[in-house]
Symmetry: C2
Subunit: 360 residues, 2 copies
């Protein structure tokens, strides 16, 4: 077994079984680049044994990323007894940094599996592929998929409440909000399931579809099928992607919105962000415009409304965050919180209120 | 040269240079299946020498398809001096009908190029590939693409008026409306260009991007790049795909709508159609809802409004078509026509009025 893709249930199961994971961030150990590693440290803390970055060895994860406590940063795989190396960044269009080749080959040669979210598939590299075959190690490219189903337009199980995070922009915390609300609901005894639609979410949960890599004719269908295979749960928290107004990624956003056919939306934004990430020439649109657009376009497929707002206030002071929270609550008449600063309880409350309203 | 894809300018140029084309519809010579062949007969009539269908040989194209005049239906390629065989149907998810294999091999063995819009790429079939190499014939898979650019969000040349056809559903004539309005504008001396976004449009025009086959992360970017390389023209008629409310294909529709950033929209529908094509369980939405949705979502990227309505009245009598036309004109206060029954002049007028309004 030398290559697997996430559409194989084998590889999905395998991702969630690793218990001695090394996160590779060699040369890219900053919060800007190492978002995948940081999310893994947040949500699979107990499965991580080390960070691999020879430039930073001797430090702790906490020192590098402000998360991950005493998890050590090491210079090599020696003596770690790792079961998998997860590539911990998504740099430069998802391409593999040059210096990583020898580290990946070293892991595969030691019989350690390698899990990658890069656009360049490791499993299609002849040297990686040969080394994994020779050493009985496995390469999992989570972005690889062969999704080729179109949507049926059929409804989902009526007792499955579908909540979807949508945003003013990309890269502002939709995955984190989905995970935090799901955890809060589980803590209250609810059968709530996180549904991953991006590579980091798949690495965390061991299931999902890398929706931005699906051929456009099949985006709605892949999203629908993903929700369908999770509809036995009472509540789904479906990770959003991009934004409905994003010049580059709105196709992904709408395909997911229509395929998942959510009942409730959680609108996410970052305090202080004024232009589209990566496109400084494009101003972000007002929250009211965005919320109206999400509700209107979602409802072309299935009635949906925004039930709460998640603000990402990482770049402002606690006082500024509280003032912003009050202001937005008043303006929109909806619960508002930063899931890190304030916890996810107000959003979990909103989910349960929606369920009651819908009579589930 | 054994394989080409449409992102190569070589293959695009080649498609438009064929002057002795045979349309292959073997066993599928009905209007339901042979839409590609019928469109080719309408828009490249002078380049077509025959229809190939051994079940119907001896008839004329007009008898089979109600279009194409005396173009003969033949049983084989013997004595035709063809320069290309174009696959004339899009059946069963774009897969190759089994009986066509020997016909395609025969063409390639005779040194005749083969142009296909199938989802299954002929160029990846070892037998086809070998035969084309051995006989210096060429396989062009128009759906094959390697589009990997993301959108810049930059504006287009301000004197390039962009008109985009959008629809209540898929498969109701958006390509035909785009072509008919473009022809009408050219007949009036305007520099108007048709921009193809689907396989049939590419076969007709020899340029374009098969947008439904692009990976979803790159749909907006591929659409933007396609328009960018045509923006030297004064007026673009950009072929629409799917519909903004289509359970299966709305991702394609929105990516194209945002990537092309049109100034004006022509809304297309079919008189009497009540459910989504292929999804009998999903009712179509009212025209007002659809028009509002198109205007609102398009304007998230660039201000756009519907300037006219194209009705497809193929299934009703002339009297019913005229009554419908009057009713819709009154309801929406917009020019309405069936481009076949009434000509495209009212829509061309609307395009030129929009240009005047925008001060171009």
């Amino acid at each position: 077994m030398d290559t697997l893709s996430t559409d194989s249930s084998d590889s999905q199961k395998r991702i969630s079984t690793y218990r001695r994971i090394v996160l590779l961030t060699e040369g890219f150990s900053t919060p800007f680049y190492a978002k995948t590693a940081m999310s893994m440290l947040l949500y699979r803390r107990d499965d991580i044994v080390a960070i691999l970055d020879s430039c930073e060895s001797g430090k702790s994860a906490q020192q590098l990323f402000c998360v991950g406590d005493s998890t050590p940063v090491v210079a090599s795989l020696d003596g770690l007894d790792a079961d998998a190396v997860f590539l911990g960044t998504a740099v430069a269009g998802g391409k593999l940094p040059g210096s990583w080749r020898s580290i990946i080959l070293d892991a595969l040669a030691r019989g350690i599996d390698v899990v990658s979210g890069m656009h360049d598939f490791l499993s299609e590299d002849p040297e990686f592929s040969l080394t994994s075959r020779q050493n009985d190690s496995c390469i999992i490219d989570v972005r690889k998929n062969n999704e080729k189903v179109t949507s049926t337009g059929e409804g989902f199980r009526s007792d499955c409440l579908r909540i979807h995070t949508v945003g003013q922009d990309c890269s502002l915390g939709k995955m984190v909000v989905s995970l935090e609300v799901q955890r809060e609901l589980v803590a209250r005894g609810e059968d709530a399931q996180f549904v991953a639609t991006g590579q980091t979410g798949i690495m965390i949960s061991g299931d999902g579809v890398p929706i931005d890599c699906v051929v456009s004719d099949f985006v709605n269908g892949a999203s629908e099928a993903l929700v369908r295979r999770n509809e036995s749960h009472d509540i789904l928290l479906i990770e959003g992607q991009g934004s409905i107004s994003h010049p580059s990624f709105s196709a992904v956003t709408l395909g997911l919105l229509h395929g998942a056919a959510p009942d409730g939306l959680i609108y996410c934004y970052e305090v202080g962000r004024e232009t589209v990430k990566g496109l400084d020439n494009v101003p972000l649109l007002p929250h009211r415009t965005m919320i109206d657009a999400y509700q209107a376009t979602a409802s072309l497929r299935h009635p949906a409304r925004v039930i709460g707002i998640a603000m990402n206030s990482r770049n402002v002071s606690p006082e500024e965050a509280d003032a912003e929270r009050q202001r937005i609550e008043q303006e929109f008449g909806l619960p508002v919180c930063d899931v890190y600063r304030h916890g996810a309880a107000p959003l979990a409350d909103a989910v349960l209120r929606l369920r009651k309203e819908l009579g589930q």
